[in-house]
Amino acid sequence: MRKTFIAVLFFLTIASIIYSCQSAEKVEQDMYYTNGRDLYIKHCQNCHGAKGEGLGELAPPLTDTLYLKENKTRLACILKNGLSGTIKVAGKEFEGKMPDFNYLADIDIAQLIVYITNSSGNKQGMYKTEQVATDLKNCK
């Protein structure tokens, strides 16, 4: 009886350690997400919409999960330097110009990317601030 009790206690301790580790990561991601949402409302929502629905053929939607996934390492560059030329999102071609947001700090960019890639039907997890510097070095 006592053996089982200890075993259960041991198991519970291990489980709670693992659980709390994960939630610490989750807490950080949630923090990024929440701050990212504020930044999104301020800088992006005008064109891309409250639900990431885009605006006609003027601004592409942010609901194309595949596009975001394939271009995830480019997102930092797009935010920092803007974008011009033609891109294909959600099966439609978008031609025009997105303004640059070069005044955004790396952490702002990371938070925005976490928000964008985890809202509007996307669920792509964490994107760390350190990643921004790496990705920005490889901008074309």
Binding site: Q45, N46, C47, G56, E57, L58, A59, G96, K97
Partner: protein, 216 residues
């Protein structure tokens, strides 16, 4: 019988209330300056009439490079605004909101839209055409281009919307986001903040009220 008479009083008031409320139709105010003018009747007597501020004659190039005038908006109510195509601040929201109204009234030829560009350097008709296509709107929504003095003048004096060039602004121009509701007699009947969802909701409610004025 006694039971009936007890009931008849509330019923009477209910009917009275209905009748008076039906007569009390909501009407939109008329904005702008007005003056009293004395008019001579045919029989020699005089009466005073108020003259309201109206949108003056205008002539602008539209998205198809065609000169359009007030004649285009004859017997229409229309919503006017000021914007520019490369604007990244308030214009996309304004036009997102106006587009939802446009979509609602697509089949009603009595209502039109008139967007003036304040970017007289870049927004030539071909640029406006492209913008209209990308926004996904047809000829019911006109986009016009004109010389700076004329567009800026009509904005501030007649539609009462502040617009200006601003070298310090990232986009180069600053303007207010009013959606101005004009009636069939060229009078201003409302101005709504195109960036504020509540204000746009009010516009959505006011359009049928204005249209009803002419249904007699």
């Amino acid at each position: 019988m006694k039971y009936l008479s007890n009931l008849s009083i509330p019923v009477f008031f209910a009917i009275l209330f209905c009748l008076t409320s039906c007569k009390n139709e909501r009407k939109l105010p008329i904005y702008g300056e007005r003056e009293a003018k004395t008019i001579k009747n045919e029989d020699g007597t005089t009466k005073t009439d108020s003259i309201y501020q109206t949108i003056p004659d205008f002539k602008f190039l539209n998205q198809d490079s065609v000169l359009i005038t007030n004649a285009k908006f004859k017997d229409k109510i229309y919503i006017a605004d000021f914007f520019f195509t490369s604007c990244s601040s308030i214009c996309p929201v304004m036009h997102r909101n106006l587009k939802s109204i446009y979509d609602n009234y697509k089949d009603n030829p009595d209502i039109m839209y008139l967007s003036h560009t304040i970017d007289f350097k870049y927004d030539k008709p071909s640029v406006l055409k492209k913008y209209a296509q990308k926004l996904g709107v047809g000829p019911q929504w006109q986009f016009v281009y004109g010389p700076k003095e004329e567009i800026y003048g009509i904005a501030e004096k007649n539609y009462l919307v502040a617009v200006m060039e601003d070298k310090n602004d990232k986009d180069g121009y600053v303007h207010q986001g009013w959606l101005v509701l004009i009636d069939k007699d060229r009078r201003i009947r409302g101005a709504y903040d195109g960036t504020n969802p509540e204000s746009v909701a009010q516009l959505t409610k006011d359009i049928p009220v204005l249209l009803a004025e002419y249904k007699k």
